[in-house]
Symmetry: C2
Subunit: 91 residues, 2 copies
């Protein structure tokens, strides 16, 4: 069953943008921070919300923490929405 925090996670434009950037592979908080005109703590809070949703997970490599998109959960979000809307996956 889907963690409903996922709906909250995708509700904010910055978090959606982060997810989009993670499609192409893991990024550090610092790399992502460059893209947004927002304080680091605010961004950290967005990361935290993304982690709570399980849409992203982290891995530390030395000094850096890499954010990764969890595609399994991403697929679960899609499935849950298809169910919500009563839309069938074509066979």
């Amino acid at each position: 069953m889907l963690n409903t925090n996922a709906y909250k996670a995708i509700a904010h434009p910055i978090r959606r943008d982060i997810l989009k950037r993670l499609r192409s592979g893991p990024k550090t908080a610092g790399e992502l921070a460059k893209e947004y005109d927002i304080s680091k703590p605010s961004l950290s809070s967005h990361f935290s919300i993304l982690k709570d949703s399980d849409l992203v997970f982290t891995r530390r490599d030395g000094n850096h923490i890499y954010y990764n998109l969890n595609l399994t959960v991403a697929n679960e979000v899609l499935s849950a929405l298809m169910d919500l809307f009563g839309i069938e996956k074509e066979t």
Copy 2:
């Protein structure tokens, strides 16, 4: 292009529940109101957010206003999320 209000629309559990109930056909505000322990104005505000997202549209029939699920927009939400996550629709 998707109305980003749709992300906001699905962020609240009551609004998701309303969408789910509309799968089976149009419902009046009154019918839906029975399902939730919340004041009518609060629910009306949820309806308004759903309408802003274009996920639902209304049709008046006499004294009743029927809420309908807009499946076209529902599909657009799914497409937008597939794009966001970089998930391909299988052919």
